[in-house]
């Protein structure tokens, strides 16, 4: 069986060595499937390199580049050899010696040529990485022609420029060629931009869908907020997180905020895929414009909505039911909240730890939703931060922790 291991590919140069088992090629002569290796010297012709190195769409174009490089190398070699010859000619006193020297020189050149050829073949086998490493300039110059799909590294900076360009053009109108122009980056092809744009759009849709869901939920809270007695001075009606005054977040009603601004204010530069943290330069850009409602966390509209009837009684101690409210919410069973309505004052406290002092008007989260939110982070830590707060310096945190006696992060000793 023809057993091929990548490591040995490099070592094999020249047809005469193919049958040498040191190459790692073990050819079973009894096997009928093999072509007859009549003349070892022709092995290079017989053996289909595609089978050996794998045919990828971008393999073939390599051959177009290599001759250029080889030519480049050759010129060096040629110069070397010509120098040798001229040198030997100059010092010519005995013809034979010179011939010997020049022949050697030529042999060197020839063997070098062979090596280069083999090397290039080997590099093909080893994949793009070597090519790029060895011949970076030619690789990048080929990008523009789109001959090879070089993997583009969408750094946060690059992505930021991309988003800026898209924003300028309008997401739906953004055309890759124009985006490229606006970005002014030379190492990108239109194709790169097009595929990135596609991903970006689908990611946005996903986010928008989630936020629409959150908006619906918010609206329900809003309706609820109406029944809680109207406007709350300076506070977002729904107990919403409203660092709005300081940040410029649009004040309530949230209903109005959610759908239309979703397209404008909410054009938040999306997280760069594959990058664990959100680009810091993006952050100031993001949250002043729009403090996102809890998209991931708040997917329990029924819960929230039905939660509310329960908290009234706690403070008042009077009728457990508010008829209008109760009609709406009596039906849905509330997960995580004891269903018994008459013992109304027992409902909240154990679950949410209010202790009587703290009004649950903010519709305190259920354990399930908190658990789900936290679980989401554990499962997919690479997701963008929901609020995108400026992260603290790791060193600062670590030194603080050391002061408190925590030496390892994450701690190996189990806690809680």
């Amino acid at each position: 069986m023809l057993a091929l291991s990548p490591a040995t590919r490099d070592g094999c140069d020249g047809g005469s060595e193919f049958l040498d088992t040191t190459c790692g090629f073990s050819i079973n002569p009894e096997d009928d499937e093999f072509p007859e290796f009549a003349d070892h010297g022709d092995l290079l012709d017989i053996i289909d390199f595609d089978d050996l190195f794998g045919v990828a769409g971008d393999m073939l174009p390599d051959l177009e580049i290599d001759p250029e490089i080889l030519a480049g190398d050759f010129s060096d070699h040629m110069n070397a050899s010509s120098t040798v010859t001229t040198a030997s000619d100059k010092t010519d006193s005995q013809g034979e010696t010179n011939k010997g020297v020049s022949e050697k020189g030529h042999e060197e050149v020839v063997s070098k040529r062979d090596d280069t050829a083999t090397e290039s073949v080997t590099y093909d086998g080893d994949g793009e990485r070597d090519r790029k490493r060895k011949y970076p300039s030619s690789a990048s110059s080929k990008n523009n022609e789109g001959k090879r799909k070089v993997k583009v590294d969408w750094t946060p900076e690059l992505h930021r420029r991309f988003v800026e360009a898209v924003e300028q053009l309008g997401v739906d109108k953004a055309v890759p060629s124009r985006i490229l122009e606006l970005m002014g980056v030379h190492c990108l092809t239109r194709h790169n931009v097009a595929s990135h744009l596609q991903k970006y759009r689908s990611h946005r849709k996903h986010l928008l869908a989630r936020e629409a869901e959150a908006a619906n939920w918010t609206r329900k809270r809003h309706i609820y907020g109406v029944e809680t007695g109207g406007n709350i001075n300076g506070r977002n009606k729904n107990g919403w997180l409203a660092p709005a005054p300081t940040i410029g977040f649009p004040p309530p009603p949230p209903v109005a905020v959610a759908p239309p601004p979703v397209h404008h204010h909410h054009f938040r530069p999306l997280h760069v895929w594959g990058h664990p943290t959100v680009d810091q330069s993006v952050m100031p850009h993001v949250w002043p414009k729009h403090l996102p409602p809890p998209s991931n966390a708040m997917h329990n509209p029924p819960f929230w909505v039905s939660d509310s009837p329960y908290w009234h009684p706690i403070h008042n101690g009077t009728t457990p039911y508010l008829p209008t409210v109760a009609t709406r919410f009596r039906a849905p069973p509330v997960a995580g909240i004891p269903q018994a309505l008459p013992p109304h004052h027992t409902v909240y406290k154990p679950d949410n730890g209010f202790g009587g002092a703290r009004p649950p008007v903010d519709l305190h989260p259920s354990k399930e939703s908190v658990d789900a939110a936290i679980g989401d982070v554990l499962a997919r830590p690479w997701l963008p931060l929901p609020l995108g707060l400026k992260p603290p310096a790791v060193d600062g945190v670590m030194s603080e922790l050391h002061r408190h006696g925590v030496s390892e992060v994450p701690p190996t000793a189990s806690c809680a």
């Binding site: 943290t277 403070h315 009077t318 209008t324 609020l387 809680a416």
Partner: protein, 95 residues
């Protein structure tokens, strides 16, 4: 290197804290939640919270205000609302 794993751990804790902030939880509630649901040592949660607070003073200041606002106003509102609804319902039942 220990640094990168610490950094990513801290980042994860920050992420979780942010989720709690969305839920409008207090620092204590957050520490408890992270400890319970994700086994994060309370001291780590509170340290990261404090550091976040330092880096995002304005945000946390407003956050605190919102928290306290809720506590003050909601009681009154609750009472008002309940009174209102009770009176409404009594009117309705009269009909």
């Amino acid at each position: 290197m220990a640094d990168s794993s610490s950094a990513s751990y801290i980042h994860m804790v920050q992420h979780m804290i942010e989720k709690c902030l969305i839920f409008h939880m207090s620092k204590e509630e957050c520490v408890e939640a992270l400890s319970k649901h994700a086994n994060i040592t309370p001291v780590i949660t509170s340290t990261v919270w404090k550091e976040l607070e330092k880096e995002n003073k304005e945000f946390f200041k407003a956050y605190e205000e919102t928290q306290s606002n809720q506590e003050q106003m909601s009681e009154e509102e609750t009472n008002q609302m309940i009174q209102k609804i009770i009176s409404d319902s009594s009117k309705e039942s009269d009909d």
